[in-house]
Amino acid sequence: MRGLQLVRALVLGLGLLATLTTGVDPIQFEDGPAPRFVTRTGRTTRKYLPQTMAGGVAVFDYNNDGLLDIYVVNGATMPALLKDGAQYSDRLFRNNGDGTFTDVTDTAGLAGQGFNIGVAIGDYDNDGFEDIFVAGVHRNTLYHNNGDGTFTDVTERAGLVRPDPQYGKLWAVGATWVDYDRDGLLDLFVVNYVQWDAKTEPVCEKGGLPDYCYPRAYTGVPNSVFHNNGDGTFTDVSAVSGIRRSIGKGMAVAAADFEGDGWPDLFVSNDTLPNSLFLNQRNGTFKEAAIEKGVAFTENGAAISGMGVDARDIDNDSLPDIFETALLNETMPLFRNLGQVGFEEITFSSGAHASLAKTGWSNGIYDFNNDGRKDLFAACGHVMDAQGSLHATVPQTNIIFANLGKEQFADVSTSAGVALARRGVHRGAAFGDLDNDGRVDVVLTELDGPLRILRNVSLAPNHWLLIRTIGTKSNRDGIGTRIRLVTEDSVQYNAVSTSVGYASSSDLRVHFGLGRRALVQELELFWPSGTYQVLKNVKADQVLTVREP
């Protein structure tokens, strides 16, 4: 016990030291009590690619009690892709509001089927209850939230069982809900990875032992887009929207208004292929423009092993920037949005290149110390199997970069608490304020490891604001709403989105750290419908619900 106290004291000391050396308020996390859950990959001697890809997690308020609940998807037996036991069940954990969670999976009807990878949350039918889309290997599932604690699998009825005409059943790893045509209904963009079949799985090895094959051994596939018809059904518009033309090995998607024209665009990170940037043409179609805008490749010309992605404004110039994770030795690229010119990669010039030593998966751009500057978090763990000579190197510690301002970041992982010193084969990460204390927490998954909750216990006496948007003309979640916040000494930008990182879905509420300012002078909301709304003199330190006028 004394040892633990000593470690805590040491970490606190390191945190203070970090404050002195970096000049930023310390970021501190600790492992909080988490529901009992293990992400099962269906481990086998022979390695199947989906096994290293599992781990999606979502934080969302399924029962509208104001508390974020946790939903985790799970693997299955391999190569059968069957959930043949409770250990493979997807799980929904209700937040009891006292730091504990209750497993409500069976009541909710969310145990799931097949080998699931990712999850995306959104209220697609605007009924005020969050629905769930699960991305999986050859099987996706749409659960409608019935509003009484139960969900119904409506995948088939919704028209989402649609094998690709050329590639057959697709393997989806993630998705985002986005109202791309601004008709007030959330559409669905599904990220598909590679063509895969257990029967033709190539055999590869590392260090003399069977291991996962490099993505080059698999054929890329297109992503899918489903237009919401408003009657509970969707139309596959992958081809007519222009999305299907781009073949990739999609890993994650970020929806954001990169051009600042009021229309949501999409950035897709691809594994070993150039990234895709789909610019919204405002007529139901997209133009792929990653090369044109300078985000297809990193500055050293590499098509990296793109993993997770988040797009938010790190320098508060009103344009969303891009933070992408990738493989060891590739860095985790940070693309700064310059507007019309395109993007410039600032990974090295910003100091974020310390990510070279890690393989990142799910990631997020959040202000963890509430100082008014958004920081970077990446869940880390190597792709390969943790066996043989790799046993010691596959589990990795997670990484946090504190935003120092002026496009500079400092790796503060080692001073952010013992929880950050713990290694794991991390995959999913969902971000949200689980205890409504104004500090953004992180829920993490590990392959064949326990679910973790990193409680944000950063000590700085900074203020904050959480904004829950409720659309009336826009989609009810308000997804896509851009928010400008003004305090006495700063202007900040953010937007409503649940699609964050890899395979994961984060808090719908938009978080702002306010530093020492307890009053927001002006809060402007640019709703997807085109409605403009401004609130004046908003008090800090509250969860503010804003209804579209």
């Binding site: 490099y214 993505p215 051994a217 044109e292 297809a296 490749f297 010309g301 395109g342």
Partner: protein, 406 residues
């Protein structure tokens, strides 16, 4: 005449094949162009006097094909085969014109004629299959490729060169399966030439097939146990497959045969580069450069190593420029020079000069297009950025056409 034409075709093709494996000093393009113009004038005069002069028709058509002017060349060859329909060499050039103009019907017709007139002529069929590679005429391409491959069992050792060339064509056309089959045929016909193994192994490694690539190199090492080059290539293959430790094993084996070989040092430098041990990589590659100052590859990697260090930009630029002096055709050298000027110095004007060279030489180098477009934009040259983007999009469309079966 028939034999002569087929021979000329084969010689011209094989001489171009050599340039794949050897870095040639840049020829004086201007002199070449002038000589070509003189020849064209002379041929025009001949054709004015006798529009049916077969030799002039053929030569003129060939020059047009070399210039990529298939529209002008096609009528000349059509006329030629009208006069002399039994000459497969002329049909082959007509096929080339059809391919260049994406005329699937004429390509199919020319292919049938070649097959009818010279069913067992490997030179012609390998050439035709090569020309068809990656041009989006899948049925004709498939048929011609299989025809060329079917001739392998009846070939002697010298036939290996054709299959090696065929493999390179399909590798360039991003058709690795056909390329691998052609390279394997080259090995089967001529197991005593190291480069055939190297080509197949590199292809497999690039396709992520590390195991089969290693196996190919293991058989090469067994066949050439005293060859330093083979050991170095085996190490290189391991490096490409993402196994620096195994690459180091091969490098050490090579070093035991010839420790001061520049190739051995180059491999070690590349391994250290992969391992991000940059000071060691620099020291090794500088040593290699001293031993082989005229090796463009060594300077290229030395530039790469220096580029990774904070203060190494000037040295990197020096090495890359030296590499270009020795091999003006390596697109990636232009790319890295452009990248250095773009990112380190923000000298977009100079960056553009190098990046333009990179995309000219390797239009498939997508990263160079991205940077070039960005450089134009930073210079405020939006029209050029837009033009470059259009050029890139044309390349993508062309590739999509090739990859999508009709």
């Amino acid at each position: 005449m028939k034999l002569q034409l087929a021979l000329a075709l084969a010689v011209s093709w094989l001489s171009s094949a050599d340039s794949y494996s050897q870095s040639q000093p840049a020829r004086s393009a201007q002199n070449e162009q002038t000589a070509q113009e003189v020849t064209k004038q002379r041929l025009l005069q001949v054709l004015e006097q006798d529009p049916n002069d077969k030799k002039a028709l053929f030569e003129m058509g060939r020059l047009m094909v070399e210039e990529g002017d298939f529209v002008s060349a096609a009528p000349l060859f059509r006329k030629y085969v009208g006069l002399s329909p039994a000459e497969p060499g002329a049909w082959a050039y007509l096929l080339r014109c059809a391919v260049g103009q994406h005329d699937a019907r004429e390509a199919a017709d020319a292919q049938r004629q070649i097959e009818r007139l010279a069913p067992t002529n490997l030179a012609l069929h390998a050439q035709a299959a090569c020309w068809l590679a990656g041009y989006g005429i899948p049925e004709v391409t498939g048929h011609e490729f299989e025809l060329a491959m079917s001739l392998a069992p009846s070939q002697t050792r010298s036939g290996a060169l054709w299959y090696s060339r065929l493999g390179q064509c399909y590798e360039s056309a991003q058709d690795p399966n056909r390329a691998a089959r052609a390279f394997q045929a080259a090995i089967d016909l001529d197991p005593d030439t190291e480069t055939h193994y190297f080509r197949l192994a590199h292809l497999l490694a690039r396709e992520g097939k590390a195991g089969p690539a290693s196996e190919i190199m293991a058989s090469a090492v067994a066949h050439f146990p005293r060859s330093v080059t083979t050991r170095v290539e085996a190490g290189s293959i391991e490096l490409e497959s993402g196994n620096p430790e195994r690459a180091l094993e091969k490098q050490q084996q090579a070093a035991s045969l010839h420790p001061k070989s520049p190739g051995v040092l180059l491999l070690l430098g590349r391994i250290r580069l992969t391992q991000r041990r940059y000071p060691e990589a620099i020291a090794t590659l500088e040593q290699a450069a001293k031993l082989a100052p005229a090796d463009a590859g060594i300077h290229f990697y030395a530039g790469q190593a220096w580029m990774k260090t904070e203060q190494g930009t000037e040295k990197a630029i020096e090495h890359f420029k030296r590499s270009l002096e020795l091999d003006a055709n390596r697109a990636s050298t232009y790319y890295w020079l452009g990248s250095l000027y773009f990112h380190r110095d923000h000298d977009y004007r100079v960056a553009v000069q190098y990046l333009e060279q990179a995309v000219d030489r390797a239009p498939e180098l997508e990263a160079a297009h991205q940077m070039l477009i960005q450089a134009y934009k930073r210079l405020g040259e939006d029209a050029k950025a837009a033009a470059q983007l259009r050029r890139y999009e044309e390349i993508v469309q062309q590739r999509a056409k090739v990859e999508t079966p009709e």
